[in-house]
């Protein structure tokens, strides 16, 4: 049931960069904000940016940012009418969405059933196939238990195939099978992992793509049946399923081709009654798209789409949560220039070990088309408890080459001392010729890192 109630105070059930991003959007819309924080973030300046801030628990995320009850109690104490989950933490938690609504507040995101459907990979694929969204070859049903039936399915798809846990995601609970000899053991192992890690042994099987790119489509839906897609992004530059650089639009994909997929996504949203913002993730290979999953939340890389579409996605998210009708239709959505986002992580640029400590000096790049979303400042203490993302550098240019060039300058002038960051790696990556050319696949970065390590 779409929530239509109005709210004037939003509690942000998250921390750091995204908390600040939501505070900014709320402030611009005249909404009051409450930031909850853990003991580790007590002294961070960003928590004071909200109208109210309240400590909800000890540093460990399970005791604070994942402590659903503590967050709901804080919302009640502060009189918040809505909860924004940000990304990560509880953003795609079915029970949290339901609990927020049960407590009489608005969950800024889809309802529990949409989250649950999209969280179940088999159900999601089934819903997408029904809506005409292109999917990876393979049945949209759970893998049977009989070895012969499994063999037949794999043979039907053609090797290599990938066996995935229905409840998995983010690169966990999957196994590539190159030929029939490996099949049964791979299935048994993955099933056992799935049972342990996700509480359900349900598996499914798909065609394994060898050199895909990661392309995603940003959608925005209101509670009145209107939906638009705001463009697409290329997030192929990944290391261990963690995106490092994202850009919009994806280079080398024709507008006609992506337009068909975008339309299918919009239709899918309307068919399942989706509300709020969401992202359809696809693998793209040899001119074809294959749906992999839908993220039912705001994404880290949403700014690149904001830059190219000129739409403030967080504000739109708040508006549809208020029950407003979308103020734009698909014809109003345009894509201007090219945007690139670099994730600045507090981690060793060679070993990728997270680094904690105090940022002793910070100078953010400035200039036309340069945006930095961050909650840190000089004197900020990076705690070891959470994700290592400390800032996002978003650069907008006339075209891809221009955006690349501006990113190089911005990275060069980005000064952050006291802790190790991946800035040196990013600077080096932006000098890479293949990346500059574009259209690299999802394995490119890892290969590049190996070569670089060897060099």
């Amino acid at each position: 049931m779409p929530s239509q109630q109005r709210f004037d105070k939003v509690l942000i059930a998250n921390r750091g960069e995204v908390a600040l991003r939501v505070v900014r959007a709320c402030r611009e819309m005249g909404l009051k904000t409450v930031v909850v924080y853990s003991e580790a973030d007590r002294d961070s300046a960003y928590v004071k940016s909200a109208d109210q801030s309240i400590c909800i628990g000890p540093s460990s995320a399970s005791k604070s940012y994942l402590n659903q009850s503590a967050i709901l109690l804080a919302a009640r104490l502060t009189g918040a009418g809505a909860v924004h989950p940000g990304y990560g933490f509880l953003s795609e938690n079915t029970s949290f969405s339901a609990a927020v609504e049960k407590a009489g507040m608005t969950f800024i995101g889809p309802d529990a059933s949409a989250i649950a459907t999209m969280g179940d990979k088999i159900a999601a694929k089934s819903a997408m196939m029904a809506a005409g969204v292109p999917c990876v070859p393979g049945p949209d049903t759970e893998l049977p238990s009989e070895p012969e039936a499994i063999r037949a399915i794999a043979a039907g798809i053609g090797y290599p195939v990938i066996v995935k846990a229905a409840g998995g995601g983010g690169g966990r609970g999957m196994r590539v099978v190159l030929n029939e000899a490996e099949l049964q053991e791979a299935v048994a192992l993955t099933r056992e992992e799935a049972r342990k890690a996700f509480g359900t042994p349900a598996l499914y099987m798909e065609k394994f793509l060898q050199h895909p790119r990661h392309i995603e489509i940003q959608v925005l839906c209101d509670t009145h049946g209107n939906a638009v897609w705001l463009g697409h992004r290329d997030c192929s530059m990944q290391r261990r399923h963690q995106k490092v650089v994202e850009e919009a639009p994806a280079p080398g994909i024709s507008e006609t081709l992506i337009g068909t997929v975008g339309e299918a996504c919009v239709q899918a949203c309307q068919q399942i009654g989706y509300r709020g913002v969401g992202t359809f993730e696809f693998l793209y290979e040899d001119g074809a798209f294959y749906f992999i999953e839908m993220n039912t939340r705001l994404q880290v890389e949403h700014p690149v789409t904001e830059e190219t579409s000129g739409v403030d996605i967080v504000q739109q998210q708040l508006r549809v949560a208020q029950g407003e009708t979308l103020s734009m239709t698909q014809v109003d959505v345009t894509c201007a220039g090219h945007a690139i986002e670099c994730r600045i992580n507090a981690e060793d640029p060679k070993t990728f070990m997270p680094s904690a400590g105090v940022i002793t000096a910070l100078e953010l790049p400035q200039g036309e088309g340069v945006r930095v979303d961050t909650h840190v400042e000089a004197g900020y203490k990076v705690s070891p408890y959470y994700d290592s993302l400390i800032a996002k550098l978003i650069v907008h240019g006339q075209d891809r080459a221009d955006a690349m060039q501006r990113t190089r300058s911005a990275l060069a002038s980005f000064k952050l001392e006291g802790i190790a960051t991946n800035l040196p790696l990013l600077r080096e990556l932006f000098e890479d010729a293949a990346f500059a050319k574009g259209e690299t696949d999802i394995h490119y970065l890892e290969k590049w890192l190996k070569t670089r390590g060897a060099a």
Binding site: G57, P58, S62, K63, S64, L66, N67, Q68, S69, A70, L72, L73, R76, K102, A103
Partner: protein, 331 residues
């Protein structure tokens, strides 16, 4: 299990009563202060109508034979656990062997000892309430006696109470906005005029205007009121009909009787009024010898109070669990 170490007469096992059998003459029974029972059970995470001990004579003492949690609601009777003061309306985790003692009430008359899982006596005709009249239900259909050992129900999703306990705001305070305050120590009880109200003519007004005193001949079955008698203008012969707790009947003496939890199922006395459901608990906590006055109410008012009370109970249940879960997650 719990063991009764010391008890006076008239203390019983009660739940929300045995509904659906008034048509075969079986009284509902159930707690005299159902609000205290519901709030206690909700705080503990029990089924709202789980069986509890209703204590109306003191001192009362019991020993817990296993680790569990409990709360004393209703009357504030200076409860202590192993000699340490226990705050009223405060759920506490306890260890096996601890002894709970209740003294004379300072406020109210009936205390409810609610324990996680509820008192697991056999349900008779769908209820664990003691039917004193029928001599069944509860602990063998009788008052609790020293040496009684009662089983406790299984808890499906037990709450982990902090060692300092977890209290609920006294409903009398939390719901003060939907209940009229006492006037000069006189309890105001809201009632709706009943079938024979008009028969009392001018005496009907005297029924509402005067202050009635609860006589010593008052118990779980009914409260006899003392005051200036009221009489119907003409004698009336009623055919036997069903009645419910809260009915205010006027016997030939002219002094009204309010039927309470152990109300007769049928009656034939003219009835002048009926106390609204949401105010019955306040009568359940009224002391013998105390005074009350009836205040006319409408169904709409009664329904609105009922909703406020139900919302409070729901709020207690969900917030109690949330606080326990939040604290548990922080451990």
């Amino acid at each position: 299990m719990i063991e009764i170490i010391q008890t006076g007469p008239f203390n019983t096992v009660q739940d929300l009563g045995r509904t659906g059998f008034r048509n075969i003459g079986v009284t509902t029974s159930g707690a005299m202060d159902p609000l205290a029972l519901k709030v206690g059970n909700s705080l503990l995470g029990n089924e709202t109508g789980a069986a509890v001990l209703e204590i109306q004579t003191y001192p009362f003492k019991l020993r817990f034979a296993k680790q569990t949690s409990f709360v004393v609601t209703g009357a504030d009777c200076g409860a202590s656990l192993d000699g340490r003061m226990v705050q009223p309306w405060c759920a506490l985790p306890i260890e096996a062997g601890q002894v709970l003692e209740l003294g004379q009430p300072r406020v109210g008359t009936r205390a409810y000892i609610c324990i996680a899982g509820g008192i697991d006596v056999a349900a008779v005709m769908g209820s664990r309430s003691t039917s004193l009249r029928g001599a069944f239900g509860g602990s063998d259909g009788r008052f609790l006696s020293t040496g009684d050992v009662l089983k406790l129900g299984e808890v499906s999703t037990a709450l982990n109470f902090p060692a300092t306990g977890l209290a609920v705001i006294d409903p009398a305070y939390a719901l003060a906005y939907v209940y009229p305050a006492n006037e000069d120590g006189v309890l105001l009880v809201r009632a709706i005029p009943a079938g024979e109200h008009a028969l009392f003519g001018a005496d009907a007004e005297r029924f509402w205007m005067q202050t009635w005193k609860i006589s010593t001949q008052s118990d779980r079955t009914g409260y006899r009121l003392m005051g200036e008698p009221i009489k119907p203008t003409t004698p009336v012969e009623m055919r036997s009909h069903g009645v419910v707790s809260g009915v205010v009947q006027v016997p030939p003496s002219g002094e009204p009787i309010i039927q309470m939890a152990d109300a007769n199922t049928a009656g034939g006395y003219p009835k002048i009024a009926g106390v609204i459901e949401a105010d019955l608990w306040r009568l359940g906590q009224a002391r013998i010898g105390s005074r009350l006055r009836f205040v006319r109410a409408t169904h709409a008012q009664a329904a609105s109070v009922e909703k406020a009370v139900a919302a409070f109970i729901d709020d207690v249940r969900s917030t109690s669990r949330m606080v326990c879960d939040a604290l548990q997650a922080m451990k």
